[in-house]
């Protein structure tokens, strides 16, 4: 059992999300940075889909009531155990009574705490992910607060043998790098002027303070739409379309672009003009408020290759860790 002493500012239990309910308006939720979440799980011998604690900008302080095997990945929040700094992207042993403390994020926005056996909260629609808007999943459907107690799933004693494992440096992302975020243009992008399409890909966008698990609102130049007589049912604004489904990662343009993230609205009446590729959604999720984002347009096959590469890399990491056991 883990007892939360400080919940941070937005810490939630997340797994890989719930699928199959998008058509009733249920977004997938799940870890915003799938790579960091998955590596944390692999480091403690869990499957990728085990639930972790996702912490945004500021970490939790918590006391473990049982012995445990943990890993902290993602944004650097200077974790310490009983006041002693611990390694990140590494497997760490925790004894009953130890206090884990994470500070604020120096690089990146989101850190993940995995525990061997996974965070054991009840599944809602086959997922432990928290979706705070309607208050389902995770711990009571909300962010963690002082006094909350999280159960840990059962894990075999051999998991202790993983303690001391650290993934290769080359597999640890550098969130200070402001790498371009790759997108596939399309959907309703024909609604933008040619100039606006260029502006979207050539500009430096700034992550707004509102950017959260629902959407990343970006500040930057205006994007103009092609003039047209609005189709029946769309509404009067040039950015309006007859309400349609929004892909996860899609960029909608009410005025300034908003990239839809894991807790996104599933559909609506604003033109979507492109989609962040699945392999880069975690990269965007690690971009802090006020940092810059630039988009690079790629084609669908490059997007699929990037996804394959990321999955292959995760599989190699998993195999390496398993070799240590």
């Amino acid at each position: 059992m883990i007892e939360i002493e400080e919940g941070g500012i937005a810490s939630t239990v997340q797994d890989l999300g719930r699928t199959g309910h998008y058509h009733i308006g249920m977004p997938p939720s799940g870890a915003m940075d799938r790579y960091a979440h998955t590596v944390a799980n692999y480091l403690v011998g869990n499957d990728a889909d085990a639930a972790t604690v996702e912490m945004t900008y500021q970490g939790i302080t918590a006391t473990f009531r049982d012995d445990a095997v943990i890993a902290v990945t993602g944004a650097d929040m200077s974790p310490s155990l009983n006041g002693e700094p611990i390694d990140t992207w590494a497997t760490v042993a925790v004894d009953a009574g130890d206090e884990l403390e994470l500070a604020f994020a120096t690089e990146g926005a989101r850190a993940y705490l995995a525990v061997a056996g996974g965070i054991d909260v009840a599944e809602v629609m086959d997922s432990r992910s928290t979706y705070t808007l309607v208050g389902i999943g995770g711990h009571e459907g909300r962010g963690l607060e002082e006094g909350d107690r999280l159960s840990i799933g059962d894990a075999p004693a051999e998991r202790r043998e993983l303690v001391g494992t650290r993934i290769d440096n080359e597999d640890v992302p550098d969130y200070a790098d402001e790498d371009t975020v790759r997108i596939v243009l399309g959907l309703m992008s024909h609604r933008l002027t040619d100039e606006a399409k260029e502006t979207l890909c050539d500009s430096e966008w700034t992550v707004s303070p509102e950017a959260d698990r629902v959407g990343y609102r970006l500040e930057g130049p205006d994007l103009e739409f092609e003039e047209r007589e609005q189709p029946f049912g769309a509404g009067t604004d040039p950015s309006n379309v007859v309400d349609l489904g929004y892909p996860l990662g899609s960029i909608q343009v009410p005025q300034k672009p908003i990239v839809l993230m894991q807790d996104a609205v599933t559909g609506g009446g604003y033109a979507t003009v492109g989609t962040v590729i699945s392999a880069d959604r975690g990269l965007l999720a690690q971009r802090q408020t006020h940092k810059t984002v630039t988009f690079e347009s790629v084609d669908v096959d490059e997007a699929i290759d990037a996804r394959r590469d990321q999955n292959a890399r995760l599989e190699e990491i998993r195999a390496d860790i398993e070799g240590e056991e």
């Binding site: 998008y22 308006g25 249920m26 007859v242 559909g267 009446g269």
Partner: protein, 300 residues
């Protein structure tokens, strides 16, 4: 009401688009029509029936649909080829489906949405009126009462569910020349009461939870469209009640009835008044007013 028929619309060639590596979005028409919506429903039902490997989400929308996929199982281009094949085989003429006709009591001009719409007046096209006064005038009605008469005068078909869990988008089942149309707020509100009944573009909606919104606000229903605790009897199988293809019959109620229903909902005993019906687009197109009347009879 006159018994005009609805002419099926000639739809353009569908537009197949990639939503990055893991989504395929298909626009069936830019403008809203029953034909486009029925086609979206027919194709997504076929996709569900074929149980295509690698398709993880299947979402019909108003005049489009979207699929989420695992591209390592199925390449988007292979899926698009299959969707084109399904599209070519769809025969909307002889297509009908089992659906539900549902009674939705609404307290129009309720105190809660009234307070909200007055609070956000500066974001509205008409800062001096109410949303109903503005909508009535824009659609050529002589007053709010006659506008509400038109709004409840024919049922509304759920053409899409989404935005947030349980929010139905509904298209009124009348010929195009009788359809109401209003713009959305100039600037979206940051607040809307839960269970508010709104209208924007050509769609009515019921807001499941309190939150942001941009549709004109007309009233509030005492019944829930989302029950995350699944305590109400109609929510045993799903925390969301409305489904695409359902038919909602908005019914004007007074405050007394609103309070009485609300009490039942809060006690966890309220049961929806609905009936299963078979819906035939062809018969509906042929004689919408008469067909709607027949549908309504089952609720009596």
């Amino acid at each position: 009401m006159d018994n005009e028929r609805i002419t099926p619309v000639d739809l353009p060639e569908p537009r197949y688009e990639y939503g990055a590596d893991d989504h395929v979005f298909v626009e069936l028409a830019e403008e809203m029509s029953f034909t486009a919506n029925f086609k979206a429903m027919a194709i997504t039902q076929q996709v569900a029936e074929r149980d295509i490997d690698g398709v993880v989400e299947n979402c019909p929308a108003n005049a489009s649909y979207m699929l989420r996929i695992d591209p390592e199982i199925i390449h988007p281009d292979d899926l698009i080829a299959e969707l084109k094949e399904i599209e070519s085989e769809i025969d909307l003429e002889n297509y009908d489906w089992e659906t539900r006709i549902i009674d939705v009591p609404v307290l129009f001009e309720d105190p809660w949405t009234h307070e909200t719409l007055m609070e956000f007046r500066e974001r509205h096209q008409d800062p001096d009126g109410t949303d109903l006064e503005y909508s009535a005038e824009l659609n050529g009605f002589d007053g709010v009462e006659s506008f509400i008469d038109a709004f409840v005068g024919a049922p509304h078909l759920v053409t899409m569910v989404g935005f947030v869990p349980g929010l139905p988008w509904c298209f009124q089942m009348v010929p195009r020349n009788q359809q109401l149309e209003v713009p959305k707020y100039v600037e979206p509100r940051t607040d809307t009461p839960s269970r508010a009944v709104g209208f924007g573009g050509a769609f009515s909606v019921i807001y499941p939870v309190q939150g942001a919104g941009g549709y004109q606000l007309y009233g509030r229903t005492p019944i829930e469209v989302l029950d995350t605790e699944q305590t109400l009897p109609d929510f045993r199988d799903s925390m969301v009640f409305p489904n695409p293809g359902d038919i909602l019959n908005y019914r004007r109620i007074d405050r007394e009835e609103y309070d009485a229903i609300r009490e039942e909902v809060e006690a966890g005993t309220y049961e929806y008044n609905y009936e299963n019906v078979s819906f035939s687009p062809e018969e509906f197109f042929e004689s919408p007013a008469e067909y709607n009347e027949q549908l309504m009879e089952v609720l009596e």
